[in-house]
């Protein structure tokens, strides 16, 4: 068995991992990045539409262009990149990271790890939609990969379930490639994706969006022949008498992403709502040497946020590899009213903290309150699709530390 040592090991070469590896190497630490695919970039590689990098580069780039910038930065940083290699296991006791690639099995023993494995799509089976199991049901990311990277057309007439950004983008992509997109269904009474995507991907092409609708059955024994949809009530239950049929050969699902965190879940604990590891202000998990960033922590809206998170995690991992970041008493924060995703879940009072959160429904005017108003921020026109960011300065963290229980809440005004 071949074994290697390094200061920082980054697992996953998407936006988060690329940024993390650059930051760690720039901080002067020996850094290795491992990516399973043959080239880095992660999900960006298949997102050929523009809309990336407005914050980070003040330009609208396509996904591959954004990834190319990160790769350039990485090359300049001196980090080593191993592609075509997968991480199979991490031993929490020895920090030995087991990897496999065509050159063989390698164990890497890093001082610190940044976990940046991204997210997977929630599959059709998880929805428990009744019916036979015909071919022609695709998750949106798979359809996107087939169309954009493999030049393959998944079908001729499609319905899209879920109005998250990926679903909206795919509605437009398929339409532009000559697939008849008969509509987009959304369970909630509001769209799941960004408003600009609703306008640019659906409205501009007259693709109907059916809010408060879901699929209640699929039909067809070999290829999909149709889908039954229905209107749902406030609790998401189908209303009888509202069923309607869509004759389609393709159903595209954009029904949620789930952080790929099983490799570490066993020993760091996963947050039940984020579904990724609990992290603190430095993106540190409950294992002091293990940092995590990007969609493997919680599903983020913008790649800019993901890259910034990766950078921060990479920097702290480098610090840790250099001379252990001392364990301080962290301030656990919990969800109050109107908070779904919440990152981090613990505040490290030694550094400023950027809190990221998602609200469960659109609100015209609201206020984020942390620790009964020790930190607060007004929000105007906040939507579940967009993550809210709130900064907690070090002085405020000291105040929060005095409270018995720190809640983050969003109060509608």
């Amino acid at each position: 068995m071949k074994s290697y040592r390094t200061d920082v090991l980054v697992i996953g070469g998407g936006a988060a991992g690329l940024a993390a590896a650059s930051a760690a190497a720039e901080a002067g630490r020996e850094t290795i990045l491992i990516e399973r695919e043959d080239s880095p970039g992660g999900v960006l590689e298949q997102c050929i539409h523009p809309g990336f990098g407005v914050h980070r580069y003040r330009e609208e780039l396509t996904g591959p262009e954004f990834a190319a910038r990160l790769v350039e930065e990485l090359d300049a940083s001196g980090a080593e990149v191993l592609t075509g290699r997968s991480v199979l296991a991490i031993d929490p006791k020895t920090r030995a990271v087991e990897t496999v690639g065509p050159e063989g099995v390698r164990t890497i023993r890093p001082k610190a790890v940044v976990f940046a494995t991204g997210a997977r799509e929630r599959p059709f089976g998880a929805l428990r939609i009744p019916g036979p199991r015909p071919v022609g049901i695709f998750t949106a990311g798979l359809a996107q990969k087939l169309v954009n990277l493999h030049n393959l057309l998944p079908g001729r007439r499609a319905l899209i379930l879920g109005s998250g950004d990926i679903g909206l983008i795919m509605a437009r992509r398929l339409h532009l490639e000559g697939v008849e997109v008969v509509g987009v269904l959304e369970l909630k009474p509001f769209p799941g994706g960004l408003m600009r995507n609703v306008v640019q991907c659906l409205d501009d092409y007259e693709i109907p969006l059916h809010l408060s609708h879901t699929v209640i059955a699929v039909h067809g024994t070999k290829r999909l022949t149709g889908v039954t949809a229905a209107r749902v009530d406030e609790t998401g239950r189908p209303i009888t008498g509202t069923a309607r049929e869509f004759a389609v050969d393709t159903l595209i699902l954009s029904v949620g992403l789930i952080p790929e965190a099983e490799l570490i879940g066993r020993f760091v604990g996963l947050d039940p709502i984020n579904r990724g590891p609990c992290v603190d202000s430095r993106w540190r998990t409950r294992a002091p040497w293990l940092f995590a960033a990007g969609n493997s922590v919680a599903v983020f809206d913008l790649v800019d946020t993901v890259a910034a998170a990766g950078e921060s995690a990479g920097r702290f991992a480098a610090r840790f590899a250099e001379n252990d970041i001392p364990e301080v008493r962290k301030i656990p924060i919990s969800r109050g009213e109107n908070v779904l995703h919440l990152v981090p879940t613990e505040i490290d009072p030694g550094v400023p903290t950027l809190i990221h959160l998602r609200v469960p429904r659109p609100m015209q005017r609201a206020q984020v309150r942390i620790g009964e108003g020790i930190v607060s921020r007004r929000l105007i026109g906040v939507r579940p699709a967009e993550m809210v960011e709130v900064e907690v300065p070090v002085e405020a963290a000291e105040e929060l530390a005095k409270l018995a229980d720190v809640k983050v809440e969003v109060v509608e005004e």
Binding site: M1, R36, G84, S86, L88, E98, V100, G101, P102, E103, G104, V105, R120, E121, P123, F124, G125, A126, R128, P130, G131, P132, R133, P134, V135, T139, G141, L142, K145, L146, V147, L149, H150, N151, L152, L153, P154, G155, R156, E177, I216, H219, T221, K222, R223, D249, E260, E262, G265
Partner: protein
């Protein structure tokens, strides 16, 4: 001597393998593109303890014998088999009485090791079982398999011993001349045969009628399932049954060989066999959840990665129809409802001996009962992995990340006969994990296309008319 077996489910596969012992020409006809795409694909995969079966029935007899044979069979054919045992859970005094009856019945038919254990004991073995449990019946001989593994392994071994396999070939008629079988008609032409075995699963009634035989009379009974992610491991450590009802063994909670948790099945009699008989229903899936939660209240249905249904070929009267018929040379292994998977090795042994006796056949010494399964990367230790990659670097490429399946395994599966995405999936478990192929389908499509030498648009999921993609985006 030339003999044909109709149906490459677990029953037909094992019969074909047994017949290969006799140095005769054996042909196996299967209308699907791969073996085990019928009833044998979607069931609980339990090698039953048989205590549910009435003494004196064919089911009881073949079940007990079959169960005992599985240890040796799994060793010969090199498929995973785990005797994890089962517990039947009793919640009230009626249930406890039912356990006593099952125990007595099981002992009468020869089911070993049955024991009634108390509440503390069952809760210590299965801590997640409903705390309202009163007692449980323990059956140590119950095991689990992935049912298609058995059929695939048996066909591979039979092929190594001379079997001629005809996939994608539907039998459309049986030629009977002067009261004896002389051949069959298929959609790929006719074959002269001296004997035919009907192991056609759900279609065994139709095949019987082709020969003019009026048994079995079958009706379809659907069973729906929910499969949970490996994160649910520990929900059950053994096969958990509720105390039985009239027409089924109830909704079970069990671990699969692969480490997932399976919930189900329901039991719904269908009016007729339609192409969408194996569809799930909202009522059925809800019944699976509530039935399973009765046994393990804390289980988390949000961990669902897949739902599916299987259809049982229920014979009128409930008995297997195994043996010769009024037509000489026409044999049946039909009406193979549950516990047909358990019984299959015993049915195969019995039927092949009957045929050998009738035709005066002798076992040939050249028969090699051993089959080696291709390497499964995820189950190897580090040294074995390194050696495999050294030999063939494609074993170092993980394609299915959820189940850690490598490109080398997928190529091996295709070389061993997989021609479809499902064929690859059942043989390697690629696409069977928590993302259900979201990440790897495109790669598998590419590998299938390359290995089969067809464009990706021609690659199918299960066979004809179900291509994954319909064409190119641009020429």
């Amino acid at each position: 001597m030339r003999i044909g077996v109709i149906g490459a489910g677990v029953v037909g596969a094992l019969i074909a393998r047994e017949l290969c012992r006799y140095g005769i020409e054996v042909h196996l006809f299967e209308r699907e593109e791969d073996v085990s795409f019928g009833v044998s694909k979607a069931n609980s995969g339990v090698i039953h303890g048989c205590f549910h079966e009435k003494p004196g029935t064919t089911r009881a007899r073949f079940c007990v014998e079959g169960n005992a044979e599985y240890t040796a069979l799994a060793r010969e054919l090199d498929f995973p088999f785990k005797r994890i045992g089962a517990h039947v859970i009793a919640f009230n005094s009626d249930d406890v009485a039912a356990l006593e009856r099952l125990k007595a019945q099981g002992e009468e038919i020869g089911c070993a090791g049955l024991e009634i254990i108390d509440r503390e004991e069952i809760l210590s073995r299965e801590p997640r079982v409903n705390p309202d449990v009163r007692a449980a019946l323990w059956s140590p001989t119950v095991g689990i398999v992935e049912p298609w593994d058995v059929a695939i392994a048996a066909v591979e071994n039979a092929c190594a011993n001379g079997l001629v396999l005809h996939l994608g070939t539907e039998v459309t008629g049986i030629r009977v001349t002067g009261g004896r079988v002389t051949g069959i008609a298929t959609d790929a032409g006719g074959f002269s045969l001296d004997a035919v075995v009907n192991a056609a699963g759900l279609y065994a009634d139709r095949v019987a009628r082709m020969a003019g035989v009026d048994r079995p009379v079958l009706h379809p009974r659907r069973g729906e399932y929910i499969l949970l992610d490996k994160q649910a491991a520990g929900t059950a450590n053994s096969v958990l049954f509720p105390a039985p009802t009239n027409n089924s063994k109830g909704i079970l909670v069990l671990p699969t060989v692969d480490g997932n948790i399976l919930l189900g099945p329901t039991a719904d009699d269908l009016p007729a066999l339609s192409p969408d008989a194996a569809a799930t229903s909202s009522v059925g899936l809800a019944a699976v959840v509530s039935g399973a939660k009765r046994l393990v209240p804390g289980l988390d249905p949000r961990l669902t990665i897949k739902t599916f249904a299987g259809v049982r070929p229920e014979p009128a009267g409930g008995e297997f129809v195994v043996g010769p018929t009024v037509v000489r040379g026409f044999y049946q292994a039909a009406g193979m409802r549950s516990p047909g998977l358990t019984a299959a090795p015993a049915v195969a042994r019995y039927l092949s001996r009957e045929i050998a006796a009738e035709f005066g056949l002798e076992e040939k010494s050249a028969f090699d009962p051993q089959r080696k399964s291709p390497p499964r990367f995820s189950e190897l230790d580090e040294a074995a992995r390194a050696a495999l990659i050294e030999e063939d670097s494609s074993y170092g490429r993980i394609v299915c990340r959820c189940n850690e399946v490598t490109e080398g395994e997928i190529v091996a599966a295709i070389r061993r006969g997989a021609r479809t995405v499902d064929g690859v999936k059942f043989r390697t478990r690629a696409g069977f994990g928590r993302c259900q192929g979201g990440f790897c389908t495109a790669r598998i499509l590419t590998i299938l296309s390359r290995e089969l030498g067809v464009p990706p648009e021609e690659v199918t999921v299960r066979g004809k008319d179900d291509r994954i993609v319909v064409g190119r985006v641009r020429p």
